[in-house]
Symmetry: C2
Subunit: 300 residues, 2 copies
């Protein structure tokens, strides 16, 4: 099986970044009324930054099933909107209190806290508006399933629940199973639904998604371990946000529980496992395979 | 046409309050893990309080079209979850900075700011999860349309956009058309979709919803003027929240722009107009008619 090298993956990441930016540009056009500042804040946080890992997962999976690009990119943009809203709220003073995100001032620093809260809430609602719109898919069953799965991944059974666990981790000791569960909710759920969305758009029934779910599960954990390593070993200027905050807060992470050597090894093992879950797919899944390796490599 | 008196309406409000509380009790069951505090915060804000005006609008409209109670109550609870999330976020220190809501400490006072932000976000996502769930309606077209309309009403083209305008109103003078537009977004959109949801569940096509939309539009404005009057003339202990904050902030409101006499008159006129929009319905719409009068009366 021919592996897709970093070059096609890099091109795919640039392409999806451009596509998502273009969609945000249109869908977040600034209105000529008192809501202008709200839209400017959404645009500040959403446009021109980030790895666009989740959108690429959506379109790369959708491509496996011949989904129209228009449908895939709309769903990808909606899921990225959820991710951006979560970053805006996570960065708030009452949460992680971060000043820098994607190399720019965070939303509440560039605007103000109230506008940042509302910009997050607005992107959250817009994501579901975009998913439920007939333009995303002609079949209402597909639209309703997309909404259901993305809402589950975003809410207290997913991302928001993981974030709440993260707050609790500052107050109580977390062991490896607890940190794993926390991360599966906090970042794994949205990564999982990004892969699942491609299959939903392609009308793949749930029983046909087992391999993809396994891939997303292992990819999500590998991603988080790589994030921990990046947090400990990375360069703030290159990463574009404040680092080493978890260690300073004394919070349990994969890194603090495994140590750097086992963390690196575990990250590579998970990426290999993720790829193994794609064994029933041919070269058409090479982009997903390359993504798994990229997730491990990005901490180097 | 026989008017339904306050007694049946009062009973209907108590009944829907009980039904919504029961559903929140089940759907927000506290998990036995580190998310317990998040769920407790959601329950604190969602259960046992509020007029449940929006849920009653959903079920009263759904009843016009013979919608199953189970479907109507699920949609009603989802829309109330959106309302509750907006109250939690509006009360935050960076927004209206309120300590009291529905006679209880606000979410961030009873818990903490981070938990309150996440509880709002969680209810927001849960609302769409509940709407998109097959249990809400067997027809995916209905579920997708419900999500689409509720997301539009909640997002920057509705509630969140109105809230952003409200922030701007502290910085610039708003005239009557601007305040009207602000309130149509901030409270009118969610009241409107509460009525619309009943019709969507009843598979009434958009062209058959004109009367109901007119009703909801006028009811929403009447509700807001009554709210302004209550804010100026009401008793804090009875209302259960801090009052007279708009006047103190020098913000333009219907009351400040119209004065009390014209505000009272306009409120009654709008309620009468709202009722007039229901002329094609018989006694089955008496509860909606009584609601319009109740909205005016509650400021007395």
């Amino acid at each position: 099986m021919a592996a897709v090298g970093l070059l096609p993956l890099t091109r795919a990441l640039v392409d999806i970044g451009t596509a998502v930016d273009r969609r945000f540009e249109t869908m977040l056009a600034v209105p000529g009324d008192a809501r202008a500042r709200l839209y400017q804040c959404m645009r500040h946080a959403a446009i021109g930054g980030g790895k666009r890992l989740r959108p690429l997962l959506v379109v790369a999976t959708a491509d496996l099933f011949g989904v129209e690009r228009e449908c895939a990119e709309r769903a990808a943009t909606a899921i990225e909107a959820i991710h951006v809203y979560s970053l805006i709220h996570d960065d708030l003073p009452a949460m992680d209190d971060d000043d820098l995100r994607r190399g720019k001032p965070t939303a509440h620093k560039a605007f103000d806290e109230a506008t940042a809260i509302l910009a997050g809430d607005s992107l959250h609602a817009l994501a579901f508006e975009w998913l439920a719109d007939p333009a995303t898919h002609a079949d209402p069953f597909v639209r309703a399933e997309l909404v259901l799965e993305v809402a589950r991944a975003a809410g207290p059974g997913g991302m928001a629940g993981g974030q709440a666990m993260d707050l609790a981790a500052e107050r109580m000791p977390f062991d490896l199973p607890a940190v794993t569960r926390l991360q599966q909710l906090k970042t794994g759920a949205l990564i999982g639904v990004s892969v699942e969305a491609g299959a939903i758009l392609g009308r793949v029934p749930p029983e046909g998604r087992t391999g993809l779910r396994g891939y997303a599960h292992d990819l999500g954990l590998a991603f988080q371990i790589a994030d921990d390593l990046l947090d400990a070993e990375g360069d703030e200027a290159a990463v574009g946000k404040a680092l080493r905050k978890d260690a300073d807060a004394g919070k349990a992470t994969f890194l603090s529980l495994l140590g750097p050597e086992r963390a690196h090894a575990q990250c590579e093992l998970l990426a290999a496992q993720a790829v193994e879950h794609l064994r029933s797919y041919g070269t058409e899944a090479d982009l997903l395979r390359a993504l798994a390796h990229y997730v491990v490599e990005r901490d180097r």
